[in-house]
Symmetry: C3
Subunit: 129 residues, 3 copies
């Protein structure tokens, strides 16, 4: 039920982006209580000047390889769950496609389950109850 908007600089190969996508999804499944196949992502490949970030605020040094991941989640997770997810995500991204830990930034926004219609004009999360 989360969906993710991923912003990064243009210039990565299709294989690299696909590996990024897979590692993000694996981390969500392993550490953020996301079921298999619940995968929705939009990638925004930025031209020079479109992605603006401080190189060192609360982390870094950030490089040209900076990746900003904004996740919209369908329900609240605990603080501990979020912290475990951040750590898992960075470990996965370091492993594949090879993002520097300093270059990973994550933001989580939260909605309610009724705020999601996956298909067909229905609110599938309400029907589960």
């Amino acid at each position: 039920m989360p969906y993710a908007r991923i912003s990064l600089h243009k210039g990565r190969s299709a294989e690299w982006l696909s590996a990024l996508s897979r590692s993000l999804q694996q981390s969500l499944e392993e550490a953020f209580e996301v079921p298999p196949h619940d995968c929705f992502q939009v990638i925004h490949q930025c031209a020079p000047g479109e992605l603006v970030y401080d190189p060192q605020y609360f982390g870094g040094p950030r490089s040209e390889g900076f990746v900003l991941i904004h996740i919209t989640a369908g329900r609240v997770r605990t603080t501990q769950r979020k912290q475990a997810f951040y750590a898992r995500l960075v470990a996965r991204l370091v492993d594949s496609p090879g993002v520097r830990p300093e270059d990973v930034m994550v933001i989580i926004s939260t909605t309610a389950e009724e705020d999601w219609s996956f298909s067909m004009g229905r609110a599938q999360m309400l029907e589960r109850r």
Copy 2:
């Protein structure tokens, strides 16, 4: 007061996108308590690989024609209102420009009225009171 971010694959005509935009706005006015002229949308036309989605999670089968609509609303609506909106939106999009019901996904995020400045550096929603 809502604004919508629409993500879909590149390749649609200007007329098709315009019809999509109109059907979304009509649905908001008819079923989501949005007044006429309250229309703000951003369309993100994705290159291959930029739009990642599971073909069958809670719906589908999704095709290359998948459309993800993320709405940021200025105040809370009831559960029933949201459900009616999802249904109306899909009916409208099926009719024009001709989106498959399986290909429509909607997510709603909610803010407060004071979180909107429409123009001129003022918080117009607060001035109405």
Copy 3:
């Protein structure tokens, strides 16, 4: 801790975009309780038809120079703080790069501090306490 998504029409120079970015960041620091260097922005330069907006709803008349700024903040600000920020932002953007006041729209979404990982897979805001 805020990050901003800026949507506007394609066609501005790199210098113009850079001035827009700086004025936004200055306004956040001066009027939205954002510390220096806390700067994260994504700019979406829209092709014709990708940016849809009513010319006059609660403001305007909006021109082709319309700029939509969606800010995701890490904590709540007061109503007065938001109002002061809207006004300051428009004043700054009028001054540089020269945006018409009628063309500035702002939306603020709010998260919690634990929803941010700036780098390294850690939740830096929690570590400050």
